[in-house]
Amino acid sequence: MTRRLIVVLTLVIAACVAFNGSVMAANPVIKIATQSPLSGDQSVVGVDIKRGAELALEQLSGPLTKMGFKVELAPFDDQANPDTGVANAKRIVADPAILAVVGHYNSGVQIPSSEVYHTSNLANVSPANTNPKVTTRGYLEVNRIVGRDDVQGVVGADFAAGKNVKSVFVVHDKTAYGQGIAEFFKKRAAEKGMKVLGFEGTEEKANFDALLSPIIAGNPDAVYFGGMYSQAAVMFKQAREKGYMGMFISDDGFDSSDAVKIAGQTLLDGAGTFYSTVSGPANIYPGTAKFVADFKAKFNAAPQPFAAQGYDSMAICLKAIEEAAKAAGNKMPTRQAVAKQIRALKEFKGITGTFTFNEIGDPTVAKYFVIQVTSADPAKWNDNPVVQTLDIAPPK
């Protein structure tokens, strides 16, 4: 009996879902999809990638709307799971209105999913995937606006060398992102003649006592953390509480005002805290401060790392679609035209940098800033000064 009930229910639900086919707009619809983890414990970043893209769509879709298109966001949840990511990707490519994908937080999801985009010429701009393999496959469709692991790790190590750091302890968060950066930091640091006292990964989010005891004992000049602020700030705080007074260095995952909310004054003590990032400060990229303000106004929360990248990825997609549509005589452009157009963009000014893509989809020159944390007040996070600026081209 109940079985039949279930069948009936399934059909009812299905009918509701099928309804989405019947919401018809008068204008031709262009959709841009986002894929990021919206559920599970990685949703903290994934949701903000989507929100960043949503904000960009709202603010920057004007030219396309004027050309008579209705521009829509199609958000997908990849659950940080390759199976779901691939299934979504196939759903995305089956929808002809979708002309570009902003997406993926996990390289582990991006790599198999982009195989699907590649087979149907659908452009993908990645806001967060730093794994070199994302672009080294050489697909026309795949681009990213973040620096590669083998770039950002080098930036950190070069900065440390400039600060006369003689010994360093490297920690990472056991994600593809954090470990990738940390491996290249370690390699570069050794090349620069620094003594690498230890190299440890940890999935721990709260209790760093065990990890800290070799650090305290070795007392390195600097501790490097490859990963996100939510772990890094907690660890830095506990390290200071245990009496470590050296320098902290981290990557662009550290760029969140929540970092000082967690660690407070401890980031300023001793030799201080530095992080490398591609999101420039307000005086170089005025868009950044405006973005943070707009984001807070719309979502009632401070943007997490990669939200600004989500914004820029969407901005690039919109710009490319606009150019491609113009070239097609204000008609719906083909996917291939959009993908080619992204590569053809020159010096696109975003809020996290100026982008031109090379032949494999990496930004030709990534501008990196090393920023020092100088205030324990979360409201003043964006006033932290740039202590070094580096232009680095990705390896071929």
Binding site: D41, V44, E200, T202, A217, N219, S230, E241, I262
Partner: protein
Amino acid sequence: MKSFSKTFNIQELIRPLGQMAFFSIGTTLLLSIFTLLLAWILDRTIVGQTLLDRLNVSLFTYTLVNLPQVALDGLTIGFVYAAIALGYTMVYGVLEFINFAHSEIFAVGAFVGVEILIALDSFGVLKGASLGWAYVYLIAAIVAGMVAAGALAVTVERIAYRPLRHASRLVPLISAIGVSFLLQDLIRLVESLTTGQFNRIFPTFGNFDRRLLLGKMSLGATNITFGVSVKSIIVIVAAVLMLVALNYLVNATKIGKAIRAVAQDHPTASLMGIDVNRIISLTFLVGGLLGGAAGVLYALKFTRIDAFVGFFPGLKAFTAAVLGGIGNMTGALLGGIVLGMLETYAGSYMGVFTMGAAGTEYKDIFAFSILILVLIFRPQGLMGASVAQKA
């Protein structure tokens, strides 16, 4: 009978204190001796040589100098595990059922406590608070966390477990796993609807972050300080108080007697005039109260929490409960201390002892391996009574 409940049973207050001291000192001594022995042996191999090259000290000295701090850290986290483990063990003792959702009850306690402090902070109350008031606010937050978690635990029992009491063993366990998942997303839903934030951060106030220096030793070129932060002391003291109070409740009051009776035999207990359902609710309430308090303490110690904060501490605490012998309160205490110590020792020294081949990343595995080992050789746990197979 009447006089029994009125007499103040001093012995039941002192006994758990003695046990705690004994377990802490015993575990520390055993583990330290073992570690030092291992260091002494490895010192003669390439491992010692590597460390000598890197830090210019012998492995034995390195181990010895770090030992006091490692032991203290281990003890702190051990008491946190013990406080959570008591929640599992209480419920198991009465119902023979693993309350898988206890970790989320812990998380809810943490969230409620932290939200209250954040609210206070946003009114500007916390910033200028004097030391005395700071402690009042902290205690208020802990109490709020306890109440919320206790209420939730009772509700969960009423809705998701009570209807299943007579089903086969796995049925309520699966339901509990369901509750755990449900609650994780519910916390996230509520938090994101109300605050839009994913992380909640324990506000900085009072003197909780201060560190009391207890000693200083030199290690090669550097000085190793040895100390304990105020919040660690608070965690330990609060955990000890909770353990003593619980022990008193179960072993020296009339209610405790009823709990023990229900644990032994439901039908007989009900024949003796005990309202079994009420006692079971009460057990969940007590477990929830402890879990909620542990949640706020956890947030105090580690600053940042999110909706998934309960999972790992919960798993560890459960491991601790099994390690000590599930259903046995003293066992949960011992299990918590042993597990906290073991994983801190392993995490701290493994990297050095294996020359970096395996480090703290194996800390969690270590806990589980210990669990499996104990279960092979002593399936009833360290202190548990032998329980027969039962379908």
